[in-house]
Symmetry: C2
Subunit: 323 residues, 2 copies
């Protein structure tokens, strides 16, 4: 028999409840987000949602961090090819790969999907997951964005980082559901967004289970096994999470199906689109963009009750890495 005595007295002079979203201006967007969260977490509300169903999913490129002039992972791929070629020039076995290693993005993009897959295979396969992630981490340390001069993982959106934290504080489970690669994102997502590896869904390549120097190891193989984009997003969420999210955020038509499926569920739902309207602090693009093309979300989203976040108007600050 043990006796336990616990006694505690807390006397705290607390400030008025802190603003959970300080980088959001006091506009309708912020109001709608806070009202939604307060409603679904209020046990007295008829729209109360039990914590286990508080699933929030977000795209990454263009939603949680920037995606111009091209997806950052593609820039990594080119840099990595150049690195690999330094050790073994024979990896540059085609004109496309030679152009890629020279940073000639235009040639790669003009080569279409075939060229992109060639670049991804050459830069993303042939090493263990651990070694690949070590290379990503090293790249993030040194690479700088051509326009902002910032490390890429400082080009995360401060308002969205605050939103993720706010949701977790309100017992939401936050997930990334991105067209980006899982092994790439997992290197920085926990530090940058507070989202652990097991809550990161994305595109993935083939893998081999094999021995490397006698140690059982997962090795990244050529070929893409699953593309986490468009209808692939709800399918992947169903497979991996097994619940229909009550909050979904994206920025492009690649996210349309995810928002559509999430907000079609019963009860309160929040669909959110980050609209890139800020040519001063970030970029302004939507319908005609080669990256993050947004047509359906603008045409149909508002009628479906989705919140279109106007970056220029609704955010007082953009990047985590720049005030």
């Amino acid at each position: 028999m043990r006796h336990i005595l616990v006694s505690c007295t807390l006397l705290a002079a607390a400030p008025a409840l802190a603003d959970p979203l300080p980088s959001w201006n006091d506009t309708e967007a912020k109001n709608r987000i806070v009202t939604f969260v307060e409603t679904v977490t209020d046990p007295a509300s008829s729209d109360y949602v039990t914590p286990s169903e508080r699933i929030a999913v977000f795209d990454n490129d263009g939603t949680l961090w920037a995606e111009q002039p091209v997806y950052f992972q593609l820039i990594f791929a080119l840099d990595r090819l150049a690195d690999l070629a330094k050790e073994d020039p024979s990896v540059l076995s085609s004109d496309t790969l030679k152009a890629a290693a020279e940073g000639d993005l235009q040639t790669v993009v003009q080569g279409g999907e075939e060229a992109l897959i060639e670049v991804v295979n050459a830069s993303h396969s042939g090493s263990s997951v651990d070694d690949f992630q070590t290379a990503v981490a090293a790249w993030l340390e040194t690479a700088r964005h051509p326009d902002t001069g910032l490390p890429y993982d400082k080009m995360t959106y401060q308002p969205m980082v605050e939103l993720l934290r706010y949701l977790r504080d309100e017992q939401f489970k936050t997930y990334i559901v991105s067209g980006g690669g899982i092994h790439f994102m997992r290197v920085f997502a926990e530090r940058a967004y507070g989202i652990p590896p097991e809550q990161i869904l994305g595109t993935y390549g083939n893998s081999d289970y094999t021995e490397v120097e006698g140690v059982p190891t997962i090795v990244k193989a050529p070929g893409i096994a699953f593309v986490d984009d468009k209808a692939g997003k709800p399918v992947n969420i169903d497979r991996t999470i097994g619940k229909r999210p009550i909050i979904a955020g994206g920025n492009s038509d690649g996210d349309f199906a995810m928002l559509e499926w999430s907000t079609a569920g019963d009860g309160p739902r929040l669909g959110l689109i980050v609209h890139h309207t800020d040519a001063q602090r970030e970029w302004a693009y939507d319908r005609d963009s080669h990256v993050g093309r947004l047509v359906d979300g603008l045409d149909k989203g508002p009628d479906m009750g989705w919140l279109i976040v106007d970056m220029a108007k609704d955010w007082s600050r953009v990047y985590t890495g720049k005030q």
Copy 2:
């Protein structure tokens, strides 16, 4: 400014710490499990593991619940085929399917993989995930095991349910990684094991994202997209969890790669095999079994430091549903 005053006094007469594994006999197996958990959760230990890395993965069939005379999901498949045929006899479009709907397991098994896939396609596709799961739930309510007379979800192993709870109490995240189907397992796993849908990895079929009566819906389609068995298990864990587990439990050679990969990581690791040795209370089978065949685990496991759990000797109770 708000003032918050919180005062609490707890005076409790607590019993000596309760045994976390009451259905395990006081044998070496229990001792090894408890010692491992106490070591990795002790901040003063050199083998301390931070909570975020406390990942524990378990096979389901034969590890967390029984799997004789055949996988329970196959029995469900046959019953479901019979149900579907009542509404529309044309679903029984082959001799294999006719035999299956009559419960003629032998004909199905003799037909090999082709027959199995035919049965799975006919019984597991063509409906929404929601409707499929409603059917599974209804089946679990009424179906009874031919030998024990128990509902299938009462043939979970009480010692393993206790182990899962114990691990979660010690801040482990517990996962299922099974050859069984994700949509099937998720119907009962949270209630039976305390494992939520997002921590259930398994085999899955193709899915279509489509509209059903105007509502965006995931519909189960014919064809198997991923088989979560053998090398597929570590590959799936890497894709979905993104961490190498520190505890892995299984019962057959289909789990060998998962245990091998998990226990090959740095630091303390626990591999555990449930050895079916109990012909009195359950079944006794290993090397020659058509279900849950276990050869490599017995031959190589002990040398790799894996714990071979002797069901007859190490468990004081078997089923959750029977004392």
